[in-house]
Symmetry: none
């Protein structure tokens, strides 16, 4: 048995994170034991404790990873860039990618609503809560940036209530993702692109004049 190198340990860590992602998504955070994660990753519970100080810390690590994996990509950056001529198009591109099996599995899971619970103070410690808020804030700020960009490029009206637009887009996305789970995923997926167009269309009506 070769000595474990630093590289090996990174592999183990990713291994654990991937297992956690899969199992937390499928069975939910509560229903998944560290034993399950360890078994799935082919390591022992102790190994998890080497890389993460607790189950919650593993969750935290997973959040970080997901944040990086999902939202820190070129398309998002392009959509936010003032140089981009078609922010809404880029956003659409990004979302089309996001709404794939994997992302759905994640968003969709009890996992996600567990995050909601945590954010609402129902459980979890403060560090976790703050971390989640931070991520969310960054996410919202990204979206805001893109929407602003779209306004500047004339894709959305000048009198748009930015927060409302971001909000409504999120409503649509979260609802969509949840629905995918319950309903016929394939059917609903086929229309995603069109639904998105309609959503962009709808957003145009979220103006200072029309909203409360």
């Amino acid at each position: 048995m070769p000595k474990r190198t630093y590289e090996d340990s990174l592999v183990t860590k990713q291994n654990i994170l991937n297992s956690a992602k899969r199992l937390f998504s499928r069975r939910g955070y509560e229903r998944t034991s560290l034993s399950d994660v360890a078994k799935y990753a082919g390591v022992t519970r102790g190994a998890i404790y080497w890389h993460f100080s607790s189950k919650e810390d593993l969750l935290l690590g997973l959040l970080e990873k997901l944040n990086t994996d999902l939202f820190s990509n070129d398309i998002v950056n392009e959509a936010m860039s003032p140089a981009e001529a078609d922010p809404l198009g880029k956003l659409k591109d990004f979302l089309l990618v996001l709404v794939q099996e994997d992302a759905i599995e994640f968003f969709n899971s009890t996992f996600m609503t567990m995050l909601l619970t945590i954010m609402n103070g129902g459980s979890g410690n403060d560090e976790l809560r703050e971390k989640i808020y931070a991520q969310r804030k960054r996410h919202v700020s990204n979206q805001t940036q893109i929407i602003k960009n779209a306004v500047n490029k004339g894709q959305l009206p000048k009198n748009l209530v930015i927060e409302a637009a971001v909000e409504h887009l999120e409503i649509f996305l979260i609802g969509y993702i949840h629905s995918c789970r319950v309903n016929n995923v394939d059917l609903i997926k086929k229309n995603f692109s069109y639904y998105l167009d309609l959503e962009f269309e709808l957003m145009k009506k979220l103006t200072k004049e029309t909203l409360v």
Copy 2:
């Protein structure tokens, strides 16, 4: 000091169900122990087991209750009735009522996504799964009825793809409810009525010609 009449037992049962609803909604099904429910209801764990055969059975009972409480009301029936001149209006009335603190608490909770998990086979037994499917089916069928009614009354186009309309409405509602939890509830609530109008507007574009 509990009395022992049949009427009292009904009270106790409702008591337990209400406690379960509250706690399952807030902390989620997994994070809520029967001890918690019992304590909240002011009874002993044994009392729960008198009325429900297991924790899952309690969940089942709660589902039934919620189904009755939320969806079996006059407004829904009116909206579905061919005699109703304004089905969409009635539907709006209903949804405005639904989207209250209480309903949100429920829909919003890890509880609801736990149901999603169950439906997807992630957990729970078959009886539970079937029960949930049955409820959902009934719910969808109600919505379908209302939408059809609206088509007949000329509120929605003849070439509307009914299922898509029902689907999209659900996307909006679920997304809305989830968002309420994360975002500023009050702010978002203020616009619900308007959002709903926009949604009805949007639905008109879900026609045979435009969808895949």
Copy 3:
């Protein structure tokens, strides 16, 4: 619904006792709950508590019943009677009857060894223990009487150690009954009569001269 008469209550009591016998025998005392007994008897738990003050008391009642049913019969009395010319023959007759399905089910059960446990102080309260001892004492005294009778009638030697004979007969019977459960009952049952003859033969050798 007619008023319950005294006769009805006796029926209920016997009903409960029979159910207890059956279930205690099959599943053992511990593994049988009062709920089981009640269900089997078609009454409620409360009814059991009307007739018996506790689960142990039910056991006690059952013991009494069994004692009466099994050992207080004419054949035993005849075998003990000085007027009887063939005590050993009568004893054999009795045992042939005893070794029937029902008796075996009883003797054989965890139930019986539970009694052993109780007698050894492992569990049960003193009243129960005493009751069992009393029954046992009576049983042994019966057997002793019969053996003495057999000695008097010349069926067993004068120098027989009576207690040893009673003891050895019991060894054989208990062993036999247990074996019936484990091994092929039918096969072993066929030879019971012959085994019994051999046992009587063997007993003749349990004399003052041969034993310690």
Copy 4:
């Protein structure tokens, strides 16, 4: 204070098994909680679950251990060996050892009859049942081998019905062991050797000619 080496874990496991043996024997399987076992062994319940997957699995493990401890010894092997000139003598030696405090405690206990219950399908799962059957089969096969050996060596008649002999010996042994518990153990123990001689004598009469 537990050490964490492999050797220590073996000690812990034996510790648990011994405690289980003692307590299951005395109080019976049902009446003994894993808490009891843990306390007696000086470990926590969790430790039991590290070594055994369930209470039933602990029972299984105990059975295995007992099988090894009681029946896999030199004397038995010698008695079965064709080289042995006095199989019956060796068998007697073995049984004299077996019928000691410890073995009696085991055989005698509710524990043993619980096994009977299990074998009869009254409880326990199939794996457990099969395991017990397997052990029993092996035990019977050993006994058969010894009896055959005795026939070959002229200690028992050629026309002996082997199975009947094994059966009757078992009847005697089980009966004896049970009786020891109920009656005066010391008294009865004194005569065991003589009883055994009588049993061997009796066995000679279990021939093809005399049995059904």
